[in-house]
């Protein structure tokens, strides 16, 4: 039940358990070291994930523990049990949320990428390893079971063991390959500017300008000119 695939987009959800304990020689827990490394990625010129082919959006965070809210809920049963004075304490406590804790902290990696209609997760993960294996080691190196990873294939195997299946994956955007999407965004930007610059000109001039525009932007050429992954400046 559930699916990680919607159209050609793939929802990859990874929970990798981080080792308990501290980094030898440093007074920092393994999980905090992972968090620190991830936060340091924010100080780079751009994310290492720019190098991973077909990545639309992704996030990393450390799940320290699970949390349970004990505020009154909205269901009729909750409200009755919370407020009826005749409800015995034992029943009231039974209905209250129980405290729950994780035994390990988890590195959470949630990624949306173009996997094609069959969801090529192996291809994506191997491409990820080939592109940023040193960054992967920086963060996953502190996780249980990662010592078995030594190449792209074993990385894909490890990740799939840490993978969870989405119950529902909703794509509100576009599921084309990333180079297609980036080219389209580049064209949209350039064409909007072209349209503004050529308002009110005579037919021959617009045609000549459009021919030059089309030759410059090369609408069918994905290699360029185009936007680069993660581009945040114009």
């Amino acid at each position: 039940m559930g699916s990680n695939i919607s159209g050609s987009a793939y929802a990859l959800t990874i929970l990798s358990p981080i080792r308990n304990g501290v980094v030898p020689g440093q007074e920092i827990a393994f999980a905090d070291k992972v968090r620190d490394t991830l936060q340091n990625w924010n100080l780079l010129i751009n994310s290492p994930m720019t190098k991973v082919p077909q990545t639309y959006l992704c996030r990393y965070f450390v799940l320290d523990d699970v949390y349970t809210q004990s505020l009154p809920g909205g269901s009729a049963l909750d409200t009755l049990i919370d407020f009826l004075p005749i409800v015995p304490d034992s029943l009231r406590k039974w209905a209250m949320p129980t405290e729950d804790h994780l035994q390990s902290r988890y590195l959470v990696f949630s990624c949306n990428f173009h996997g094609g209609p069959n969801g090529d997760v192996d291809g994506y993960l191997q491409g990820m390893w080939n592109a940023i294996s040193s960054n992967i080691r920086e963060v996953w190196g502190y996780c249980y079971g990662f010592e078995k990873v030594h190449d792209a294939a074993s990385f894909a195997t490890y990740m799939k063991q840490c993978q969870l299946t989405a119950s529902l994956f909703f794509v509100g955007s576009n599921d084309e390959p990333l180079p297609e999407q980036l080219k389209a965004l580049y064209l949209k930007q350039e064409f909007a500017r072209f349209a503004v610059a050529n308002q009110g000109l005579d037919a021959a001039t617009v045609r000549a300008n459009y021919l030059a525009f089309s030759q410059r932007v090369k609408p069918t050429d994905l290699n360029g000119p185009t936007w680069v992954p993660g581009q945040y400046r114009l």
Binding site: L102, Q181, Q189, R207
Partner: protein
């Protein structure tokens, strides 16, 4: 806190579900998957790039090595990950106002779910259960979800238009060009870096400024090296 990358916001919400009711949640999601019309409300929220719900049984947390302690959880958990444009308030409120019934259906069996109406308890519920992202990457930080969708339309229209570029007179070309513009008028508009909408965006702006300085320093070092 790095929940923002360009125009996108990363929301992570993890909520407990009574383990003996988690299957009901799965059935609801399965029904939504099989009957796409149930998601029509979500589709109207065009500010969403991608969203997912994941249910982990209390015994399904990955166990990767013998020395890793086994989880002993009392609840199963539902993970919700969303990528959307705009501010936190805009997003949460638009859910409440657009699809309150659907939202209640998805979270119905979660412990202490407040329901999506009224707004303030729902805000508190999300705030309490939301976790911060440490690193968020967006392949197109300059673009909103609507930009990505409309760009696909623009690209297809330009490629089709270029097929007949050299046909006919200039006047006929201009007529076709004007038709192209009329057809694309809802998909045009250029993109710019996001305005500052929150403290996180302010931090992002500071990061951009720092990167600008780093780039300038790199350029200066390169030019000095060249001399």
């Amino acid at each position: 806190m790095f929940n923002i990358a360009g125009k996108s916001y990363a929301m992570n919400v993890i909520t407990p579900v009574r383990w003996y009711l988690a299957w009901l949640n799965k059935v609801i999601f399965y029904a939504a998957l099989k009957i796409p019309s149930t998601l029509s409300g979500l589709i109207t929220l065009s500010l969403i790039h991608y969203a997912r719900w994941v249910i982990i049984g209390r015994n399904q947390f990955p166990h990767m090595a013998p020395e890793q302690p086994r989880e002993q959880l009392k609840y199963s958990y539902m993970l919700f990950f969303s990528n959307f444009n705009g501010s936190w308030d805009q997003y949460v409120d638009s859910f409440t106002f657009s699809i309150p019934g659907g939202l209640d259906m998805f979270w119905k069996w979660n412990v202490r779910y407040s329901k999506s109406v009224a707004l303030t308890p729902f805000h508190r519920y999300i705030q309490y259960n939301q976790l911060e992202t440490q690193h968020y990457y967006n392949a197109y930080p300059l673009a909103a979800s609507n930009d990505v969708k409309s760009a696909k339309t623009v690209k297809a229209a330009l490629i089709a238009f270029d097929q007949e570029l050299r046909k006919g007179t200039d006047a006929e070309f201009l007529a076709r060009y004007n038709t192209l513009l009329r057809g694309l008028q809802h998909d045009m508009g250029d993109m710019y870096p996001t305005p500052i909408v929150s403290m996180a965006a302010y931090q992002l702006e500071r990061r951009h400024q720092r990167h600008e300085r780093q780039l300038q320093e790199l350029k200066a070092a390169a030019s000095e090296g060249g001399v």
